[in-house]
């Protein structure tokens, strides 16, 4: 029982930042804009969340600030890709460099030259509810909300059509750029929340290496989830679960597997599931155009 609880709560802890960020990726890519800048947006969000939570002693304001941190970088991505039609991959890469660089720069500015924020006291972190940080629940609510928007609202359907058939969307008299912008900007906001869920919930401080690769795993998860919000969240949970499994097996004294081998398990499992069970994945048809 104790083991099950451990696996369950570790899965949730691991998956939460990925869910936020991957959902962000879904929103952006559904409207046809590739966003590989998620990593940079997460880093920025992790920093701004930590900063605001510290300065205002309010984790919820911190969380919001995390979202806005990611949003600010998404604004640049939207400007570059939608208004100026820049190459989306190049812009995304630039955002990744910019995100980590700018976050460290600001950190140094605010905290006497250190690239690490001071730790938050426990009571100043996001509140815990039933053994889990509330960000976990927010991530699930966000999944349901985005599923609803994308599949049940006019706005969502128009966002999808902007990503599938921008020309026909345009001829239907709709402004494609606006829907693409909504996708990209909300994606930045969500990636920022993803970063925040690390810096003000899982741990209590920001440091430059806090986000190392989660943004890219989130991109893998959204492809894994076939660009659908619920499946994408499930993919993140699957990835979280395989990490939890690694830690669980690694801690057993009766099972001896080298920790190096164990640590590749999440990636091996991902490949197996991707190749064996997922079937063909199809990206939005006008992705990257």
């Amino acid at each position: 029982m104790k083991d099950l609880i451990f696996l369950f709560s570790t899965t949730l802890m691991y998956a939460t930042p990925l869910i936020f960020t991957a959902l962000g990726g879904v929103l952006s890519e559904k409207t046809g804009v590739i966003n590989i800048g998620l990593e940079g947006m997460m880093t920025m969000g992790a920093f701004t969340a930590s900063l605001v939570a510290l300065k205002f002693n309010n984790p919820w304001l911190g969380l919001l600030a995390g979202g806005l941190g990611g949003f600010s970088l998404a604004l640049l991505h939207a400007l570059a890709c939608i208004k100026y039609k820049a190459n989306q991959v190049v812009s995304g890469m630039a955002i990744n460099f910019l995100g980590s660089g700018f976050a460290i720069f600001l950190c140094r500015l605010f905290f006497d030259g250190t690239s690490m924020t001071p730790p938050l006291d426990l009571e100043k972190k996001v509140p815990v509810f039933m053994g889990q940080y509330s960000t976990v629940y927010v991530a699930f609510i966000a999944t349901a909300f985005i599923w609803f928007i994308l599949s049940r609202t006019v706005l969502g359907l128009r966002m999808i059509s902007a990503g599938e058939h921008p020309k026909s969307t345009d001829s239907a008299g709709l402004n494609v750029s606006i829907y693409k912008s909504i996708g990209v900007l909300s994606s930045g906001f969500l990636a920022g929340l993803g970063g925040a869920s690390l810096s003000i919930a899982i741990v209590s401080n920001f440091r430059p290496t806090l986000i190392s690769g989660q943004g890219f795993i989130a991109i893998a998860a959204l492809i894994f989830g076939k660009w659908r919000p619920v499946q994408t969240a499930l993919a993140c949970l699957f990835f979280g679960f395989s990490q939890a499994l690694v830690i669980f097996i690694g801690g057993r004294e009766d099972i001896h597997i080298s920790s190096q081998l164990l640590s590749i398990l999440p990636y091996v499992l991902t490949i197996i599931v991707l190749v064996g069970f997922m079937g063909k994945t199809t990206a939005p048809s006008a992705l990257g155009e």
């Binding site: 802890m13 691991y14 426990l122 690390l198 209590s204 440091r207 830690i247």
Partner: protein, 335 residues
């Protein structure tokens, strides 16, 4: 007009740089590993050592930060081009890059923290190693004495010799304090994944460990966080990490990278450069120690024991093991 003023400014800037370099003080540069220069850990400690050298030995110090492993060669190159007398690589991850650079530029002096090339040390490289096991031994001793459950945990970053020194030093210290102590050990295979550190520490705590020690860089943020949330004890590494959780971090096994860097720099100032060798700094040289905040968290009687232990280690009466084989031999002497 504008262009002319820019050129003028540049010329001013350049001429002022030349004016300084004309005095020819020693120029020392360092390349951080991915932690960055303010990592609150060994990169920062290294930079503090250079700052001290700057103040007391009048050298010129500069650094290049690495964001990823791939940055090392370029950063070393930058410092080479800047004409440094000695270039430091901070951290064992830089070993390959240092070796390559040293072979390419045989006249340039290099030094590396936490790595020994052994017999293959190029003549223009000094390896600097710490007897990390000695600090970890003291930390293990304190951990075992402070534990109420009789179970403590060790979380390592990667299973490499430098981390084994922490692991087996800690384990030896814990067993030395209490031969019945149970030591849980697990590797995170990462130096950055704080979530993983937290999960491993949580698991150890659920298995009754009440003190967790990490030698895993930023993974340790998660380890200490777990102790903080569950109100257990944690032991920090490399620097005094008490500030991360003032009520929970009872001690830290400190590696005084600053002392070592300062030492090697002052040797160089005197014209001595022990190229081709590896220097080992330990408790005796003040290059490893436990954190000053330990006195805040640990009863005086235990501190007295630790002081006596320190002396025994410095005098060589206790030989602290730094590898699995050494530990097995050490454990036999306890029974």
């Amino acid at each position: 007009m504008k262009l002319q003023s820019v050129i003028f400014c540049l010329a001013m800037l350049l001429s002022s740089t030349f004016a300084i370099s004309a005095e020819k003080p020693l120029r020392i540069g360092m390349v951080t590993d991915v932690g960055g220069v303010n990592d609150q850990s060994f990169n920062q400690s290294a930079w503090e050592g250079l700052q001290k050298a700057k103040k007391e030995l009048a050298v010129k110090a500069s650094y290049q930060e690495s964001k990823q492993d791939a940055d090392y060669p370029a950063n070393l190159e930058t410092l080479y081009d800047a004409g440094n007398d000695l270039i430091w690589g901070i951290g064992f991850k830089m070993a390959d890059a240092i070796l390559k650079a040293a072979k390419q530029n045989p006249k340039q002096k290099y030094a590396i923290i936490d790595y020994s090339f052994g017999d293959k040390t190029p003549p223009n490289v000094v390896g600097v190693m710490f007897k990390a096991e000695e600090g970890a031994f003291l930390a293990g001793y304190i951990a075992a004495k402070m534990s109420k459950t009789g179970s403590v945990g060790f979380i390592g970053g990667m299973s490499v010799p430098i981390i084994h020194a922490f692991q087996y030093g800690f384990k030896a210290g814990a067993k030395f304090a209490n031969p019945k102590i149970n030591v849980l050990e697990q590797y995170s295979e990462s130096f950055t994944d704080a979530a993983k550190g937290k999960a491993i520490a949580n698991q150890m705590i659920s298995k009754n460990a009440d003190v967790v020690f990490h030698a895993a860089g930023a993974v340790g943020d998660g380890v200490i966080e777990a102790a903080k949330e569950k109100n257990k004890m944690a032991v920090g590494v490399d620097r005094d990490q008490n500030y991360l959780a003032p009520k929970n971090v009872i001690t830290s096994s400190m590696k005084r990278v600053d002392s070592a860097i300062f030492e090697v720099t002052s040797q160089l100032k005197k014209g001595v450069f022990l190229g081709g060798t590896t220097q080992n700094f330990g408790l005796k040289d003040g290059a490893v120690d436990i954190a000053p905040t330990t006195s805040k968290m640990v009863p005086t009687s235990l501190l007295t024991e630790v002081t006596a232990l320190k002396k025994k280690i410095a005098d060589g009466k206790i030989k602290v093991p730094s590898s699995e084989a050494g530990y097995t031999a050490f454990a036999k002497t306890l029974k």
